[in-house]
């Protein structure tokens, strides 16, 4: 359900109210490969994840719709958006992915949230004195 603030038509901000459970989940994942020189591009990353889905869940798994919203190639960190219904399938296939181009690798899932805003910060990265 969406209520747009009609008074400020020029405003770029939009208020979004979710009354039911969120349709999407967002995940921040990081690819760790034992060979540091390997830097897959965003297309290769998405293809790699789809291959992982297909090996674990078959054709029906590969048909799950997900998006790579953002990808930082230097840290190999990506933000994925997935329909909540497919979350467990995507997450379990990410867990069972173990090799990329004959190199050992692992997906570290850093954050999972139904709200994209929650991925802006991570309390575990804070340096507390």
């Amino acid at each position: 359900m969406r209520n747009t603030d009609e008074k400020e038509e020029t405003s770029v901000y939009r208020r979004v109210v979710l009354k039911n459970s969120s349709p999407y989940h967002y995940m921040r994942v990081c690819l760790v490969v034992d060979d540091q020189r390997i830097r897959p591009s965003v297309v290769e990353l998405k293809n790699f994840i789809i291959t992982g889905l297909r090996t674990l869940h078959g054709q029906a798994g590969a048909a799950i719709n997900f998006d790579v919203l953002k990808y930082e190639e230097d840290s190999l960190t990506a933000i994925l958006r997935i329909y909540s219904r497919g979350l467990v399938k995507l997450w379990s296939s990410l867990t069972l992915i173990s090799s990329y181009e004959n190199h050992n690798c692992a997906f570290r899932v850093n954050q999972v949230s139904p709200y994209l805003l929650a991925l802006t910060g991570n309390s575990r990265d804070l340096q507390l004195d």
Partner: protein, 264 residues
């Protein structure tokens, strides 16, 4: 909420690799890990391994992420039993005393049944590398659950190739069907640091194995804690002292009849 534990990190002679494994486990958020020593008794080899000193093995213990206290490292012995003579059934056997946890891995249905109902162990290990030669019987599984013995499913074999992944999932699914999600723990058995997965990843894997969310979370947290408590009582309880109030000992002894101790 209990903390996360990984009760199966295989022992290797390569100390650097072991150090790396423990460091990764601490970074992923595991508060306790158990170093696993495999022991396959045979006619030639009857020597039970002796655990190495942890401070010599890995040096200073790394801090657990998010808890700022060092990780706890335990010793665990897994005995691969293919013949009843391989396992010392006597309670508090001297050979097994240096280890915090005692596990068995069975190769036949008869042994599995005996182990579930009689063996004085903490963990029964279900291999992920091969197809089990028998089905799980409800009676044996329930007997194990009543005695506080848990079953262990390890996921590292599922990461290595697709055949072993199929075996792991098959074995896990048939186990979950018979035990209905109680008394199971999920461990890594990872030989390299990149085979370790975070606790929440393992919880999702538990959902894939047919558990519900809450049971799946228990597999890496509270079930592991109950295994540790079970192991502690197994190692320390040598006898039982029971006390009973004497009949007519004092005014308290003549309390309301409903509260009086039953004399059997």
């Amino acid at each position: 909420m209990s903390v996360f534990m990984d009760l199966n990190v295989p022992f290797t002679d390569n100390h650097e690799l072991l150090q790396q494994l423990i460091q990764t486990a601490a970074h992923l958020g595991y508060s306790t890990v158990a170093i696993n020593y495999m022991f396959e008794p045979s006619a030639k080899n009857k020597q039970v391994p002796v655990p190495a000193d942890i401070s010599q093995l890995i040096g200073p213990l790394p801090l657990v992420q998010g808890r700022s206290r060092p990780i706890r490292v335990l010793h665990r012995l897994t005995v691969v039993v293919s013949d009843p003579a391989h396992f010392v059934t006597r309670a508090n056997a001297e050979e097994y005393r240096p280890f915090n946890l005692l596990a068995v891995q069975l190769t036949s249905e008869k042994l599995f049944h005996t182990a579930c109902l009689q063996y004085d162990v903490d963990i029964i290990s279900i291999p992920g590398t091969e197809k089990l030669p028998f089905f799980f019987k409800r009676a044996a599984i329930n007997g194990a659950a009543d005695r506080g013995v848990v079953f262990e499913v390890s996921y590292a074999a599922a990461l290595r190739d697709s055949t072993r992944r199929r075996y792991t999932i098959t074995n896990a699914l048939s186990l979950m069907e018979s035990c209905r999600g109680r008394g199971v723990i999920l461990c890594s058995a990872a030989e390299q640091a990149l085979e370790l997965r975070g606790p929440y990843d393992v919880i999702t894997l538990g959902v894939l194995f047919g558990l519900c969310d809450a049971d799946s979370k228990d597999c890496v947290s509270s079930s592991c804690r109950s295994v540790l408590l079970h192991a502690e009582t197994r190692r320390t309880a040598n006898g039982i002292v029971s006390t009973r109030r004497r009949e007519g000992a004092g005014p308290l002894g003549e309390a309301v009849s409903a509260k009086r101790a039953k004399v059997i």
